[in-house]
């Protein structure tokens, strides 16, 4: 039988790829010593197969964005962490790197995420609680002390003030003698989902979208290896959406960012390759695997058909995954290790580029070092022992998986069409349409649990009396005082005339239509604080109130 032309193309691509990026091993074998196929294929490859499923590394990317996937390199094992002061978090990052994580992921405290300095009255009680407190470049220097920024990739969960934290990262890199073009990482920078699911907004949608497109533009010139946004379904799912809604709302947000950047005059194929995504891995393994595959295919089609993207990398949906926090239970917490393992497996079977595994104790408090290690070990067991990383997209061709992939794609498309009809994401948020959809799904899910229609092991079935309490990580309330004190000292130590000047320049820039990034970078370098910079922007842009 003659090979399909697409198959021949793929084999050529593969040969090139193997030349440039050899696989991890010469031979991948199972326990019996039998070789495992790189890519299992159906007997007959027809046009329908090529159009819908195809080959890994080729449009529509249903089977993955690289030709060899984890045979070339495992996903990045990236554990989200950060608490207390920059010095404490720095210790945790260095511990994680020693234990074999391959990327950092910075959790900032809520005041930092919402643009308040640690001494602001709204920050009271929240400093250093859910992440690290960063007030100025001085804190960022401590955060990355002895961590060479050209050797790690760093993901920062920061949205409304993303430009400021990115500028601080670039400034720390400069101090380490590293050019911005060598920096690798991701800023979340996804404001739209904050309005509907996560809550750390500062400015109204319009100026927020300007900040985002300014970042897109600046990064294509200065940090070409940085993912300029991580368009996040994770929090939409955590807020209660279904898998279909997670895909639909995330990709609809993606469409909005692409359109905003086009409207700002950016070239599609310049910025689109640096867009990245972030999804939730929840407990229904087969649904989740299908969801990841469906999202990849749907985004590829949107980029090609709706936006006419030409570069392959503009059509690729690359994504980070985190296991589902909302499924963790405060009861019998060791069961969470099993939940996380199954969820992580679905992410790997779904072709994720990086992964965070939650820790067993996160329904109670921030995770301890021991439970974070177990969470990381879970990924290492999947990578090195489970065998699923030896073959690309091993579930492809399952009737169940392919049907579910098709269904999720179709249903998400329909929902995106509804949002289009409503005038796009921003009007749909302002009208509350998206929030209502998420709320209704959350309510139904919880009612199923309350009525016992959905069994949660250890919560509404298989319960036991638990006496011994696990040890928890606590953030010392003294942290807030110490952080406020060091901020006070910084304000005395720095050249305040330079700070004022930089802030005045920033204000003028915000009023114009010039790119904000250069002025933000200049302000950061004078040790202007995050709160001061955000205050300037609040004055010009106004504030969003949900």
């Amino acid at each position: 039988m003659e090979k399909h032309p697409a198959h021949i193309d793929w084999e050529k691509e593969l040969a090139k790829n193997l030349n440039r990026f050899p696989e991890r091993k010469e031979k991948f074998t199972n326990h019996g010593g039998e070789e495992v196929p790189r890519l299992a294929l159906p007997d007959k490859i027809d046009d329908a197969y090529v159009e819908n499923i195809g080959f890994p590394g080729q449009y529509p990317y249903t089977r993955g964005v690289q030709p060899t996937m984890y045979r070339g390199r495992f996903w990045t094992m990236r554990q989200y962490a950060g608490f207390s002061t920059a010095a404490e978090s720095n210790k945790r990052y260095r511990y994680l790197l020693e234990q074999g994580t391959t990327g950092l992921s910075i959790a900032f405290d809520l005041p930092t995420q919402i643009g308040y300095d640690s001494d602001h009255q709204m920050a009271a009680g929240e400093v250093g609680k859910v992440g690290v407190a960063i007030d100025s470049l001085a804190d960022m220097e401590i955060l990355f002390d002895q961590i060479p920024l050209d050797k790690v990739s760093t993901s920062m969960t920061i949205n409304a003030p993303a430009a400021i934290l990115l500028a601080m990262y670039v400034a720390v890199g400069e101090q380490q003698g590293i050019e911005s073009s060598k920096l690798k990482g991701t800023i979340q920078n996804d404001i739209l989902k904050e309005y509907v699911a996560r809550g750390t907004y500062i400015f109204p949608p319009k100026p927020s979208l300007r900040l985002i497109t300014d970042i897109f533009k600046w990064c294509t010139e200065h940090t070409p290896d940085f993912n300029t946004i991580s368009i996040s379904g994770y929090h939409i799912r955590e807020a209660g959406s279904t898998a279909v809604q997670e895909v639909a709302f995330t990709l609809a947000n993606g469409i909005t960012y692409v359109q905003a950047a086009l409207d700002a005059g950016l070239e599609l194929d310049n910025f689109a390759p640096r867009l990245s995504f972030f999804f939730n891995a929840s407990s229904d393994i087969l649904e989740e695997v299908s969801k990841f595959r469906a999202a990849r295919r749907l985004w590829a089609r949107i980029m090609k058909e709706r936006f006419n993207a030409q570069k392959p990398s503009s059509r690729m949906l690359r994504f980070h995954t985190q296991t589902a926090g909302y499924t963790l239970t405060a009861q019998q917490i060791d069961n969470n290790i099993v939940r996380v393992a199954l969820q992580a497996l679905s992410a790997v079977l779904g072709g994720t580029q990086s992964l965070h595994t939650n820790s067993r104790d996160e329904a109670l408090a921030l995770p301890t070092e021991d439970s974070v290690r177990t969470a990381l070990r879970t990924q290492q067991v999947i990578a090195h022992e489970s065998g699923v990383a030896s073959s690309v997209d091993p579930l492809a061709g399952s009737y169940f998986i392919e049907q579910l992939t098709d269904r999720i794609e179709a249903q998400a498309s329909e929902l995106i069409a509804k949002i289009d009809k409503a005038g796009g994401v921003v009007p749909a948020i302002e009208d509350g349409f998206i929030q209502r959809q998420i709320e209704n799904s959350a309510y139904e899910y919880q009612q199923e649990i309350e009525k016992g229609e959905r069994i949660i092991v250890g919560v509404n079935e298989f319960k036991i009396e638990e006496k011994t309490k696990p040890s928890l990580l606590r953030v010392d309330p003294e942290v807030e005082k110490a952080q406020v004190q060091s901020l006070k000292e910084l304000r005395q130590r720095r050249d305040n005339r330079k700070v004022e000047e930089a802030l005045a320049n920033l204000s003028e820039c915000a009023l114009s239509s010039s790119n904000l990034m250069p002025e933000i970078l200049a302000a950061v370098k004078t040790y202007a604080t995050l709160g001061e910079i955000c205050q300037v922007l609040r004055k010009v842009f106004g504030e969003y109130r949900g």
Partner: protein, 140 residues
């Protein structure tokens, strides 16, 4: 849902900066289904804003939800703000990711009851009803 003779009005509040409101919204809706009138403040409110809303809406109980770990300062701050507004008789209930050892301390600080993940919603509805009944009998 259980039958209820009297319609009570309650306020569900999210103090501080925490945006996780899945739990707060669920409780608000479940209370509504159980016959309560419910005012939900939305996220990112100060303790003073929550107290002012409680007084203005003339509620019989306040429920607070927090998952950021800031409960030890923010829950008592709401109790204090209520007292300062002359509404110290309004009972305050709390919920969220709250370690067991904090619960006793929160009760000492004037929080009526604290509920953590996995609590059946009927138990929480019952607690609101009991709190509303004591508040009204205390006032009249």
């Amino acid at each position: 849902m259980a039958e209820q003779k009297k319609t009570y009005r309650v306020l569900i509040g999210k103090p501080g900066l925490d945006g996780h409101d899945r739990g707060a919204k669920f409780i608000a809706r479940a209370l509504r289904d159980a016959g309560f009138e419910v005012v939900y403040t939305g996220i990112r409110r100060t303790p003073e804003e929550i107290a002012a809303a409680a007084v203005q809406e003339d509620v019989s109980a306040v429920g607070l939800s927090l998952l950021s770990g800031a409960h030890m300062s923010l829950f008592p701050a709401v109790v204090k703000a209520l007292k300062n507004s002359g509404a110290g008789d309004i009972p305050v209930l709390g919920g969220g990711v709250i370690p067991d050892e904090d619960i006793a301390l929160l009760k000492e600080a004037g929080i009526n009851a604290v509920y953590t993940p996995g609590t059946p919603v009927d138990k929480i509805i019952g607690a609101f009803r009991a709190a509303c009944e004591t508040q009204k009998s205390g006032r009249n």
